[in-house]
């Protein structure tokens, strides 16, 4: 029983890790899925020494990760189906440290509407109300992109961000960060959410 539980946890963790690291490679290994919409490819943006990488995450592995942390299947699938992306921000060579606040970022939908992204605090409020175990809360909280952070040169941060958009949506992501008192705004156009599972 204990062995089975561990096996499930390792399988779920391995699945989400594989997805997060090489989401783009999965398509090439599954020619039999050619009837499905093209899977999203990782995107990268470089500006003034800051590197931002975005990968749309497939629904099933994200749900599997949460189920492995003790979330119920319906709750995990609801979260995973709301266009989850992995964001990596690196301060490789900015003129100084940089600071960002996820609450200032926006997703621009196909109809032009600007929508705020869900922060981990938004979700934690819901999960705490649902009385999830501490281990589930910790696993979720630390897998999400920190809402605010200051990154020195050489620092990076990463995590999942839930955009709240339907599967297979296409959107632009508007980033914002501060360095030396100056606000930098830049957008990444045409990001594809993962297709429905």
């Amino acid at each position: 029983m204990r062995g089975e539980r561990l096996a499930v946890r390792f399988a779920a963790a391995a699945t989400v890790l594989s997805l997060i690291v090489v989401a783009g490679d999965v398509t090439a290994q599954e020619p039999s899925n050619a009837h499905l919409p093209p899977k999203p490819q990782p995107r990268e943006l470089r500006h003034e020494g800051v590197v931002i990488k975005i990968t749309s995450l497939l629904i099933e592995p994200v749900a599997g990760f949460l189920i492995g942390r003790g979330f119920t299947t319906p709750v995990a699938q609801r979260y995973a189906a709301s266009c989850v992306i992995r964001v990596v921000i690196s301060n490789e060579s900015a003129p100084s440290n940089i600071g960002y606040d996820l609450r200032a970022w926006r997703a621009r939908r196909a109809d032009g509407a600007l929508v705020a992204l869900h922060t981990r605090e938004d979700w934690m409020t819901q999960w705490r109300a649902a009385a999830l175990p501490a281990a589930s809360l910790i696993g979720f909280e630390w897998s999400q992109l920190p809402t605010q952070q200051v990154l020195d040169i050489g620092d990076s941060t990463n995590g999942m961000v839930n955009t709240g958009l339907p599967p297979a949506s296409r959107f632009d992501l508007l980033f914002e960060w501060m360095a030396e008192g100056k606000t930098y705004r830049i957008d990444m156009k045409g990001i594809d959410c993962a297709p429905p599972s």
Partner: protein, 166 residues
Amino acid sequence: MSAAFLCVALAAAAEAPQTLTPLGELKAAPDIALDIVEGAKLKLTDLRGKVVVVNFWATWCPPCKREMPSLERLKGLMKGEPFEIVAINAGEEEDDIAGFRGSVDPPLTFKLALDRKADAMQAFSVAGLPSTFVIDRQGRIAFRALGGRKFDDPAIVATLKALAAK
């Protein structure tokens, strides 16, 4: 031969800098007690007199996983120095962590600690994983690194050896 050298040099030049951020104001590290995987309880203050690298991580965190082998190699490079590594796991079970330890190449021999309720993460004001803090021999937080690193990078090793000599 020269083309190969150029490729190596370009690859090295393209890598992100391997740095630790010095903290201007040296504050005492939190006095936390930790359950060590397959070991006894440990208080961070028990390590006073040594340079201590405190790394916060999880098995499901890709950059955490990537940097683990370099922490193990760092341990070897710091042999003979007053030095310790404590990697504090974010909320996972001891069996999961023990299983992960053996799966890394080289296998991890430094201390792996449990943080079941994220108390240690809160004490160190950790915002994201991985996060690493370097505690000097006087028990103060001297350096910080957010995100993954190659801890066996010569610049980081030199920084830690200089700190160990103080």
